[in-house]
């Protein structure tokens, strides 16, 4: 078992390295034209001391949006899920509302938000809406997973609805919530970046779109690379957490 696992790990590592080599080779020999820079050029560009303040500022702004959106969206989704779990009659209406908000394209929400809030508040709000949707869906289904026997026990012992929710349903929803924490990471980043495409004053999204329009190819690829690596590492971290929770709750 362990040898099979380590074998697949090594193979996966080789796959990733091959991908990076392909990126470098295609860029070096210009197989995909002038707009595909080799990996090394992007890395050199990223580590140029003169560029560091630019990246630092943009990254800090975007990560703040992602963080605020993630935390507020996650908390909001959880609270809404708890409300719809505790007060059964409101649930169909809330389900629909959340689904409709989710179906509105985020680029269509952005101008509305710029009016309602401000250009700088738009990235965290869009990211929060996306994250909230994932949390709401995962938590509503997770809250319903407690076993019938446990539920009967709580009823027999005279637990109130609220304490049943907090002591039985919430703990049994933890694995679903942990999955939502993992799955909403890329969504939080997408929301922040799209929000920034609509006239935020700083951030990686702004960097990406202005680099696209001004043909600054290494800058474009660097900003995308930062976003991808950040999302990937946060995703990996939360997958570990998800595994821990699942093992603990089994």
């Amino acid at each position: 078992m362990t040898s099979a696992r380590s074998q697949s790990f090594v193979l996966g590592l080789i796959g990733v390295v091959l991908f990076l080599i392909a990126w470098e080779v295609i860029g070096t020999y210009r197989l995909a034209g002038l707009t595909w820079p080799p990996l090394s050029t992007v890395l050199v560009f990223l580590t140029t001391p003169a560029k560091l303040p630019l990246f630092e500022r943009a990254t800090a702004a975007s990560f703040a949006s992602v963080g605020i959106g993630y935390v507020c969206g996650g908390a909001g989704g959880l609270v809404l899920a708890l409300v719809s779990h505790l007060i059964a009659p409101v649930r169909p209406g809330l389900d629909r509302l959340v689904a409709v908000i989710h179906a509105i394209p985020s680029i269509a929400l952005a101008p509305l938000l710029i009016v309602l809030a401000s250009a700088d508040a738009t990235p965290p709000v869009i990211s929060g809406l996306g994250v909230g949707y994932v949390f709401y869906v995962a938590a509503t289904s997770g809250l319903a997973t407690a076993g019938a026997a446990h539920r009967d026990l709580f009823v027999v012992l005279g637990a109130s609805r609220l304490s049943t929710a907090l002591r039985l349903d919430l703990p049994s929803a933890l694995p679903a919530i942990a999955s939502a924490m993992k799955l909403s990471v890329p969504i939080a980043f997408i929301g922040a970046i799209i929000g920034e495409w609509f006239g935020a004053s700083r951030g990686l999204g702004l960097l990406i779109v202005s680099a696209m329009q001004n043909f600054q190819i290494p800058l474009l690829w660097s900003a995308v690379l930062i976003t991808a690596v950040a999302s990937l590492s946060m995703f990996a971290l939360f997958s570990l957490l998800e595994r821990l929770v699942q093992e603990r709750m089994r």
Binding site: F19, T35, V100, I107
Partner: protein, 253 residues
């Protein structure tokens, strides 16, 4: 008869009260605060703009829909093909699976500007972007479907002397269909959204372009009506995919 109508309306009220509340609150707020329609028009004004000239929305909506569907199909054919390839070879599987997982855990939307620069500002680029965004879910879901066989079924094929090809065509491929349809339903609305974002960024035809033009001219009623159409298109795609999934599953299981 009246009781049926009553039942229907109470079901609608039960499901849509929250949406109706938000829309009503929006209208009341706009009327009460006396906001100019450039800043934020009420839902009634948006609806009037749409009803006044529905045909001008139909063409861009049709274009976006077509681009999204073509891109979706391309992405799914490529993703499924690669999943099958990586099923047939353990080496390829080991090499590709982590890459597929990596690409599903990064914000793929940020790749749109890169693709736009690589391929040029063109309708084909929008198709390529939609295909790319649909490719990874197809690859991951079909790949896991190809491996999730009913327990013991592959032993049965081996015992009866089925060849590897027979096993693939009659067992593995059919058993991946439910996962394929699940991925289809999940990505269909995303395909529309990706198409709209790509059109918005590049200014090619379609709803995204229409939206950008309207927002640039401060025609906020038209911009919001465009969002409404984009939402309806995305929901329609989801509905179609859901119907397709149900239909396929009924035949399949």
């Amino acid at each position: 008869m009246t009781s049926a109508i009553f039942e229907l309306s109470s079901r609608v009220a039960q499901r849509y009260w929250a949406v109706a509340l938000v829309v009503a609150g929006w209208q009341i707020w706009v009327s009460a605060a006396g906001l100019s329609s450039i800043v934020l028009p009420g839902p009634l004004a948006v609806l009037t703009d749409f009803v006044g000239d529905p045909l001008s929305y139909a063409e861009p909506a049709g274009r976006t829909f077509a681009v999204a569907v073509v891109g979706l199909l391309f992405g799914f054919v490529l993703g499924s093909a690669l999943a099958v390839l990586s099923w047939s070879s353990r080496l390829l599987n080991g090499l590709l699976t982590p890459l597929g997982l990596i690409f599903t855990s990064i914000p793929v939307v940020t790749l749109i500007p890169i693709i736009a620069r690589l391929l040029g500002y063109d309708v084909r680029t929008v198709v390529a972007i939609v295909a790319l965004i649909c490719f990874f879910p197809a690859f991951v879901y079909v790949g896991s479907g190809l491996r999730a066989l009913p327990p013991g079924s592959d032993d049965l094929f081996r015992v009866f002397g089925g060849s590897r090809r027979q096993c693939f065509l009659r067992l593995v491929l059919p058993s991946s269909i439910p996962n394929l349809m699940l991925a289809f339903r999940l990505t269909a609305p995303e395909a529309v959204l990706a198409a709209v974002v790509a059109e918005f960024l590049m200014g090619t035809d379609g709803l995204g372009h229409m939206f950008r033009k309207a927002a640039g001219e401060f025609d906020t009623e038209r911009a919001l009506a465009t969002s409404l159409i984009a939402t309806i298109t995305s929901v329609a795609c989801f509905g179609l995919a859901l119907a397709a999934e149900r239909r396929v599953l009924r035949r399949w299981t």
